[in-house]
């Protein structure tokens, strides 16, 4: 992930960005009916706010399962790109899934982690990524070699382009602020699931 003439992006030198802005930038790049699995809470809400594509799946619970759900879709449909959108707290709840992704190494799976170092939706309690844990190091230590911090918005876009074009698995980590989400999702699980399956061509 190092570019000549630049310091290697790390948690500490990455710019603090905004989740909704980054989510909009990512969604704007999706031209091939890529599937996106939103994690619980704010990642989901901003995914909803960025445009309700039929290929988006919104969880209403099951904290931590965005990456496993995305892995399942990726295994079922190897020709489709699949993206898991997670927060730092959710990822920490199901960290083992990174090792499963590392072992299976699905070429069509990307993980985007929006890291603000807090359990934002429950009152802003600190997560371990605020102090000792580094999402990119955890991914690399789990066998996901193509993992990196986005230094700023331009690099987030560059890493997103690479994730959509190159063989995965990939993980992009972005430091984000503590701004609340801009909307909330529909709350009808069957409608969400049916629309998603239509978007995947299964229905």
């Amino acid at each position: 992930m190092t570019r000549s003439g630049h310091a290697t992006p790390s948690h500490d030198n990455a710019k603090v960005m905004n989740r909704f802005d980054l989510t909009r930038r990512l969604v704007a790049k999706l031209k091939k009916d890529e599937a996106v699995i939103g994690g619980i809470g704010n990642t989901n809400f901003d995914l909803w706010a960025a445009g309700q594509r039929p290929q988006n799946f919104y969880m209403l619970g099951s904290m931590g399962l965005a990456v496993p759900i995305a892995l399942g879709v990726a295994l079922a449909q190897p020709m489709r790109r699949v993206i898991a959108l997670e927060g730092d707290g959710s990822l920490l709840m199901q960290l083992g899934c990174l090792t499963t992704v590392g072992q299976l190494a699905p070429k069509n799976l990307s993980i985007v982690v929006m890291d603000n170092g807090i359990y934002q939706i429950t009152g802003g309690q600190a997560t371990a990524t605020a102090s000792v844990a580094d999402v990119v190091a955890l991914a690399r230590g789990s066998g996901i070699a193509k993992a990196g911090w986005a230094a700023d918005e331009a690099e987030f876009e560059r890493l997103s382009d690479a994730a959509l074009a190159d063989d995965g698995p990939t993980l992009i980590a972005a430091r984000i602020d503590d701004k609340p989400a801009t909307a909330t999702t529909d709350r009808d699980p069957i409608r969400i699931r049916e629309r998603f399956m239509q978007g995947l061509g299964v229905r």
């Binding site: 599937a35 699995i37 799946f57 969880m59 209403l60 619970g61 099951s62 931590g64 399962l65 965005a66 990456v67 496993p68 759900i69 995305a70 892995l71 399942g72 879709v73 990726a74 295994l75 079922a76 449909q77 489709r80 199901q94 083992g96 899934c97 090792t99 499963t100 072992q103 299976l104 699980p189 069957i190 969400i192 699931r193 998603f196 399956m197 995947l200 061509g201 299964v202």
Partner: protein, 180 residues
């Protein structure tokens, strides 16, 4: 090669399960390891018709199977009793409200010769949890009923988009016995 036709009485329980999965186009097998399930897990790994791998937690497998089914791929989760006990949140917040059918094979620990008090206690939570979610479950004790129960219940699970748990009794599998 596993026979996918109706089973003969000479087939082992794990061969009957594999044949029933194949007959119903189940092609993904996820598991958290268990001693009693080992012959089934080995058989699935050895069969190129299945994508078979271990997950780090049972919840993780529920997520993978949910995504796979929504993407058009049928799968099953193999685990032991204590693993099922980690699942109520994933079942109640994902599988049930989204009407995603899961096939769960549970190797029953905690009864008929259990030597670990913790296993015996956690076993007591399994059927109340399944019943509280109105989830179909069958405790299978007899080899001659295994194919009928599994085959019919897989068909029902996908037809009704409702999960099913197959509790594999030590009477069927031999279970795990105390070794000093």
């Amino acid at each position: 090669m596993t026979d996918t036709k109706a089973p003969s009485q000479t087939q082992a329980w794990h061969a009957i399960v594999i044949a029933a999965l194949k007959r119903n186009a189940v092609r993904l097998a996820t598991y958290v390891p268990d001693r009693v399930l080992t012959p089934l897990i080995k058989g699935l790994h050895a069969d190129p018709d299945f994508t078979t791998f271990a997950t780090t937690r049972e919840e993780e497998a529920v997520g993978i199977l949910a995504g796979a089914w929504m993407g058009g791929l049928r799968g099953a989760l193999l685990m032991q009793t204590s693993g099922f006990a980690t699942l109520p949140n994933a079942l109640a917040s994902l599988a049930v409200p989204y009407q995603i059918p899961l096939l769960m094979f549970v190797s029953e620990r905690g009864t008929l010769g259990e030597f670990n008090w913790g296993q015996a206690l956690v076993c007591k939570t399994m059927r109340p949890v399944l019943d509280s979610l109105a989830m179909e479950h069958h405790t299978i004790t007899r080899l001659d009923e295994l194919d009928f129960v599994v085959d019919r219940s897989i068909k029902q699970a996908f037809a009704t988009q409702a999960s099913v748990a197959f509790i594999l009794s030590p009477l069927l599998t031999g279970g795990k016995t105390f070794s000093a």
